[in-house]
């Protein structure tokens, strides 16, 4: 099993009630999350690996697991490059 990704300690996921959206907060950064990104980040708990996250989302959204896995990997790679997700 590959290592389970988690949010970096300085990144905080929260609902922004004033604007009706989910955001990921970091120093000097407010990342507005679309539905897909939020669904992925909400599952980061340090125990699920990418495959487990994709499987869960595939079941929830009734979509092919391979497609979802590619989306999950892309979102996490992007956030990793920004230092918001580890490892």
């Amino acid at each position: 099993m590959s290592e389970a990704p988690r949010l970096s300690p300085h990144a905080r996921l929260r609902h922004d009630a004033a604007r009706g959206q989910w955001v990921l907060l970091a120093p000097e950064r407010v990342l507005v999350l679309d539905e897909t990104s939020h669904a992925i980040l909400a599952l980061l708990d340090g125990t699920r690996d990418v495959a487990a996250i994709a499987a869960q989302l595939a079941a929830e959204y009734d979509a092919p697991a391979e497609e979802i896995a590619a989306d999950v990997a892309a979102v996490l790679d992007d956030l990793r490059a920004q230092g918001l997700v580890r490892p």
Partner: protein, 357 residues
């Protein structure tokens, strides 16, 4: 008008103007607020809750030195509980491992620690505080031990441009996730010391090249943000993201400002959090609406296709350079007052600095 005004994203809370350091580039006003005028703990806590309810996402606890307040932990806890992303902007010299752990427990997300120079003697000279640099370096271990994310902040001026490369290396060695290298903005004490702080165009270009090369080299290890100096630019910055658009600032005594230097502008009065709610001030105060949007703009801003990009630049800088806060920021090459900025650039360099106190 509140229907068209977006809620603020960030709050800069100047908990106190007191600071053990005396940096001559400080952006605090030269007329510093006294301890006796500071808001009490309960009022700051109410401000934090009101800010979160208003839509503020990020809180910057600043000063002066915010750790000069013994209730920093209590204020932090309330802010984090309200859901604010809480960032501590500190000189570090009043903190220790125990306080950092308490702050982390209170929900602090991030620490921004200032350095004045890579070498202790020069750093202590700039901060006018003997032993300060060593204390800062010693504190870093405690920041990591408390599990807090670290940004190193460096303000550039003529007195430390010899140290850019070394400061980048030091930030890397200290394990900073992020480094912010910002040229001095000339407000408050920095404006008073402008002739002694102002770098040459060649020095600015060199600092930029050094930072860009380091950013490339350190990609994925340490993020580097570079803030170029307004005076050497040909287009202004969108100061604070535009007046009354994204940020508000609360002074130690509770005045609510669109930016930290706004009190220099004559004819504006700023309501206090002890008189009105934060939301009432954000949406309704005349001072916030005075330079909101584009309707207030004279030419050349009024017909400029960048008017909603830079929002006319900085009002306080326009005031400082032209005597009139309604003018285009002379950081713009299109400003009819550009000569005032160029004159400041060409003014003979001075050696004597007034340390803030």
């Amino acid at each position: 008008m509140s229907g068209s005004i977006p809620p603020p994203i960030g709050l800069l809370a100047e908990l106190t103007h007191r600071c053990p350091l005396g940096c001559p580039y400080c952006s605090n006003p030269t007329d510093l607020e006294k301890r006796g005028a500071e808001l009490d703990t309960a009022t700051w806590q109410r401000v934090m809750r009101e800010a979160a309810a208003l839509g503020v996402l990020q809180l910057h606890l600043s000063g002066g030195e915010p750790a000069a307040r013994p209730d920093l932990e209590a204020i932090t806890a309330t802010a984090a509980e309200a859901g604010l992303y809480t960032n501590l902007i500190t000189s570090g010299v009043l903190l220790n491992g125990a306080r950092l752990r308490a702050l982390a427990d209170a929900g602090l997300a991030h620490v921004q620690l200032s350095l004045q120079h890579a070498e202790a003697a020069a750093a202590d000279r700039i901060g006018n505080f003997r032993g300060g640099h060593a204390r800062k370096l010693a504190l870093v271990e405690g920041i990591h031990a408390a599990g807090l994310a670290l940004t190193i902040n460096v303000v550039l001026h003529r007195g430390n441009l010899d140290s850019v490369e070394a400061m980048i290396a030091l930030a890397e060695r200290l394990g900073a996730g992020r480094l912010e290298i910002a040229h001095t903005q000339y407000h408050g004490w920095a404006l008073r010391n402008r002739a002694a702080l102002m770098p040459s165009a060649a020095q600015v270009a060199e600092s930029r090249a050094t930072v860009l090369a380091a950013r490339e080299r350190l990609q994925g290890r340490m993020a580097i943000d570079f803030v170029a100096p307004d005076y050497h630019a040909s287009r202004p910055k969108a100061c604070m993201g535009g007046w009354g658009r994204q940020f508000l600032n609360v002074t130690p005594s509770g005045a609510v400002l669109p930016c930290h230097a706004a009190e220099t502008i004559p004819g504006l009065s700023f309501p206090r959090v002890t008189e009105q709610s934060l939301a009432g001030i954000w949406y309704g105060a005349e001072a916030f609406n005075r330079f909101r949007g584009t309707a207030w703009m004279p030419e050349p801003c009024r017909s400029c296709d960048r008017r909603e990009v830079d929002w006319g630049g900085c009002r306080c800088q326009a005031l400082a350079l032209t005597g009139d806060a309604t003018q285009a920021d002379p950081a713009c090459a299109l400003s009819p007052h550009r000569a005032a900025l160029l004159a400041a650039l060409e003014a003979p360099a001075e050696d004597s600095l007034a340390f803030r106190r």
